[in-house]
Amino acid sequence: MLYANVFDIKKFSIYDGPGIRTTIFFKGCSLNCKWCQNPEGHSAKIELYYDKNKCINCNSCLTVCSIGKINKSISSRFSNEIKCLNDCSKCYDVCPSGAIYEIGKCYEVDELVRITLEDLEFYKTSVGGVTLSGGEPLLQIDFIEKFLKKLKKYKVNTIIETAGFVEWDNFYKIINYTDIFYFDLKILNKYEHISYTGQSNELILNNLLKLSREKSEVVIRIPLIPEITDTDENLINIIDFIKNNKLGKYDIELLPYNELAKEKYKKVGINCKSINKYFDRKMKAQTREILLERKKLFIKKGLKVRILSLE
């Protein structure tokens, strides 16, 4: 049986493509972007999280903890420094308040199809559908292939949001069941790309070029991260790349920086020490004026561009 690890299913999702959609967030990513807005999507494993605000200090978790040694207080057990070694999930099972919760849940194909079809009527009225996001959805390619094929039986519009760092074969397998690809373009400079995401961008750029030969419906998405991707130099590089490779036929979306991720990192605690420091810089969301200026850069070169959540 084929399972996928999914960390969130968001209904009435309105920023991930046309119409009313359900967005499925697949867990596990091949990049390690330091500004990542969905840190819970990093690891492909099911993880335990702890929300201090919900804890009622009933100590149920301590009585069942397999490690047993770390029993001073629940918050120290889940602090950055101490990582649970066992992943036995016993504490999650007994926690009554939901303070300890699991990120990630396994679904079979049919179950996920059933859940996404619950909103079929809404997709129909609004010409919406299902968006696969993550993490990197294309990592779980076998599952996704089957899943998309089934959705297509119901004529559901499908979108994949990808960072592009997967074998071309993974694209190829689902290209006929995917209506639109939302393709992230982050940093054009190879070395900077490595230092901020952990990987070179060659595979990504190649995939985008190959995709452009096969697929008419691609949206290029550029996350605007202050001082990292949102620099004049990088944006001009991106524009040149788009022009030089005749990608100007595609819509381009600029994704403003979202401060909400900071809050997420506070809750996560695990595995993101290195990332955290980027948020300590007190990065601010771009103002409307700045966003419109960025937009101008693209318009000057005759590109179709819009700012997500602003227009």
Binding site: F12, P96, S126, S309
Partner: protein
């Protein structure tokens, strides 16, 4: 917004009209001659005296004039009537079985008609004098019965009253022009108003302005009669012929019509703080409902949206008033412009809008089996959410079935968990309890338990229904004049003169009962984590010492409002059982009971009389309102909520079925999102639903408003079925709005 309207809005918010009010109107019509007159004639005389003597005023810049300044009629009940009423306790309020809140009662406790609008179309067509002449003619007939004669006498008296009331305004203008130093413009304006109102004393209005002014006079005098929650019916249809005529003749422009409508709406807002309710209730709960859109009057196959529909919408956009309650009739083929305008108003945070979906509501009304097809097409929204036929219905909205209460009776052998009413007297009497069905050990399956719950619920409905049937109604000579069948038959609506006599009963806390019953199913019958007996004890102790269990219920069990089939089916079973039970009864006039799923005041106030519940709610916690999920439990977003409520057959709820959806203002930031929002609503109605209302506000804004009320004076929010100024709500109602907006999209 022009300068006049800005000024009128400013003085409205400053309550400038309050200084004309008389809190106690002394006077009596009783003397040796009148004491022996029949009660409806006496009431008509009292009405006439009131409108002839109450203070009248015209404020600077006002175009529409008039207004209620008194809140009681002169004495007209005889000593015998008052004495006798002390022995009949039919109308004594009790919080469980006879909890008709909003109804207006008179001096001897009799219920005055509420909610029913007059047939304004007919009034505009015929004019006031026609009613007097009609009654006079009937009085000359030979074979008239005494009751009919008394009715027609009362019609003549009340019409004379209205006429002399308007005449007083003519005189007031004369006086103003003579004695005050008015600006030339204003003097000309007043002279024109004088001419117009002088004309409508006798004649049917021949201009748009005259019609609006006449409607306002009658509306405001209905308040004086003691009617509460009185609606205005389908204004865009009623006023259309004269609007069109004036425009064609070139004596009015669209802008002038907008100004008149805005002046009218501001006048409606004069009444928002004094509903004629038997309890002082929340500001804004006035039932001043204006219906727009829907089928064209007289032509069922045509959509009736017209320029006036948009003028009314535009006025709401500009004024941001709390009244009128705007009932918007929309349908599959509604004009795109209407949708766009509604979305615009919602994005501005206008909270007084209720959407009624004709295609489904009309089917629900058909199922009541009393209305003619023509009348159904012409239905009007009244009160907070109800639909009736203007000028033909004598509707009553009666009481609340608190769905959690029968569960309490079941768990505590027929007793209430809380036997003291913390706020009001009298204390809930112990004799007022449910059925003692005996020990809880005997229920082996959830189905058996559910059957027992239904037994308690059936008993509860029977008790409330029998109290409603027993309530005594007051004579209503003024409103009865303008109800078609009353006038034809010579019968007050008290005596059943109206063609339709429908009564609604609402059931509240649907989400909480579904969550509670599901928790019992899961914890007691499936996981066997607790016995019914233990659970009853835990609830009685308000979960004391069982916080873990309570947390588990709240956080780990699925809840109503997320499209979770098992819980949704319980809600469906309870709601439809309630509706089915009501079809077994007729009210005191032989009319039907209609079921409604709404919350009214129950979710904050009445709920204090319910103990802890199995859904994890502790004593004193709020419940959900209307058919919405419990606060904080709608984790799946709007499509989940919609799936949950769509599971219930709305055609069984001709009285109404209200869902509230909440959104943050950010949703409306882009055109694309607005389109998505519209499609969400369209799907909601496609799935068989009938009504929808909204809260569009950010909880952050509300918290700011709590801190700095002076900066948010005109911020309006949806309460249960009307809009109110947020900063003027009691704190607990403010908190409820905040908590309900926290999970908004």
């Amino acid at each position: 917004m022009d300068r006049r309207i800005e000024y009128l809005k400013k003085i409205l918010l400053a309550n400038s009209h309050h200084k004309y009010r008389l809190d106690e109107f002394d006077g009596t019509i009783l003397n040796k001659d009148t004491e022996n007159l029949p009660p409806n004639v006496r009431k008509a005389l009292a009405f006439k005296k009131a409108v002839e003597e109450m203070p009248i005023y015209i404020q600077e810049e006002e175009l529409i004039i008039g207004g209620r300044t008194i809140f009681n009629l002169p004495k007209y009940h005889t000593r015998e009537e008052i004495k006798e009423s002390k022995f009949s306790n039919n109308n004594i309020y009790d919080p469980i079985f006879n909890n008709v809140y909003n109804e207006s009662i008179d001096e001897i406790g009799d219920h005055v008609s509420d909610t029913n609008p007059p047939n304004y179309g007919k009034i505009i067509k015929n004019g006031l004098q026609w009613y007097w002449d009609f009654a006079n003619e009937r009085l000359n007939e030979d074979n008239l019965e005494t009751d009919q004669a008394n009715y027609y006498k009362s019609v003549k008296i009340v019409i004379e009253g209205v006429q002399s009331h308007i005449r007083r305004y003519v005189e007031l203008i004369d006086k103003k022009i003579k004695e005050e130093k008015l600006l030339e413009n204003r003097e000309r304006e007043l002279a024109k108003i004088r001419k117009d109102i002088n004309y409508i004393i006798i004649n049917p209005p021949k201009t748009f302005f005259q019609a609006v002014q006449l409607i306002y006079f009658i509306h405001t005098l209905l308040w004086v009669e003691g009617v509460c929650l009185v609606s205005l019916a389908r204004l865009d249809q009623i006023l259309w012929p004269l609007y069109e005529k004036d425009l064609k003749k070139g004596i009015m422009t669209e802008d002038m019509a907008l100004e008149i409508i805005e002046c009218f709406i501001i006048k409606l807002n004069h009444e928002v703080d004094r509903p004629n309710s038997r309890f002082t209730w929340l500001k804004g709960d006035t039932g001043q409902a204006v219906t727009i859109g829907g089928t064209k009057e007289g032509n069922m196959n045509k959509s009736g949206e017209n320029d006036l529909t948009f003028i009314i919408l535009k006025a709401i956009e500009e004024l941001g008033p709390i009244d009128p309650h705007l009932h918007v009739r929309i349908m599959k083929n509604s004009d795109k412009k209407v949708w766009n305008m509604i979305i615009k108003l919602l994005s501005l945070g206008r909270a007084n809008i209720l959407l009624n979906y004709d295609d489904n509501i009309e089917k629900a009304l058909e199922k009541v089996k009393i209305y003619s097809g023509q009348d159904i097409a012409n239905y009007t929204g009244v009160g907070c959410w109800e639909q009736i036929i203007a000028g033909k219905s004598s509707y009553r909205q009666c009481g609340t079935i608190e769905l959690l209460r029968p569960l309490e009776w079941l768990l505590y052998k027929g007793h209430n968990a809380i036997d003291k009413d913390p706020k009001r007297n009298p204390i809930i009497d112990n004799k007022y309890t449910g059925i003692n069905l005996g020990s809880l050990d005997k229920y082996k399956t959830f189905e058996e338990f559910m059957d027992a719950y239904k037994t308690e619920l059936r008993y509860y409905i029977l008790m409330v229904v029998s109290n409603i049937i027993k309530t005594r109604l007051a004579y209503n000579p003024f409103i009865s004049t303008f109800v078609d069948d009353c006038l034809d038959a010579g019968k007050d609506i008290k005596d059943g003169g109206a063609k339709y006599k429908e009564t609604d009963l609402q059931a509240s806390s649907l989400a909480n009962i579904a969550d509670s019953l599901y928790a019992i199913k899961k914890l007691v019958f499936e996981e066997k984590e607790s016995t019914l007996k233990d659970l009853a004890k835990i609830l009685k102790d308000n979960f004391c010492g069982y916080e873990n269990l309570r947390q588990k219920i709240i956080n780990k069990l699925p809840k109503y409002g997320n499209g979770f089939k098992e819980v949704d089916d319980i809600a469906k079973e309870v709601a439809e059982f309630f509706a089915g039970e009501l079809t077994r009864y007729t009210n005191g006039w032989g009319g039907p009971f209609r079921a409604r799923i709404t919350g009214g005041q129950s979710y904050v106030d009445n709920i204090k009389l319910i103990g802890a519940t199995p859904d994890g709610r502790k004593i004193g916690d709020y419940t959900s309102f209307n058919a919405s999920p419990q606060l904080g439990c709608d984790k799946e977003g709007p499509t989940g909520i919609i799936r949950t409520v769509s599971n219930i057959d709305k055609l069984k709820f001709a009285g109404g079925f209200i869902l509230d959806l909440k959104f943050s203002k950010d949703l409306f930031s882009t055109q694309e999102n607005k389109e998505k929002f519209k499609n969400l609503i369209k799907t909601y109605f496609k799935l068989g639903n009938i009504q929808l209302q909204f809260t569009v506000v950010n909880s952050k804004t509300l918290r700011e408003a709590q801190k700095h009320p002076e900066l948010y004076k005109d911020l309006t929010v949806r309460v249960w079925g009307f809009s109110a100024y947020f900063v003027e709500l009691p704190k607990e109602y403010q908190d409820h709005v905040i908590r309900r907006t926290e999970l908004g999209v």
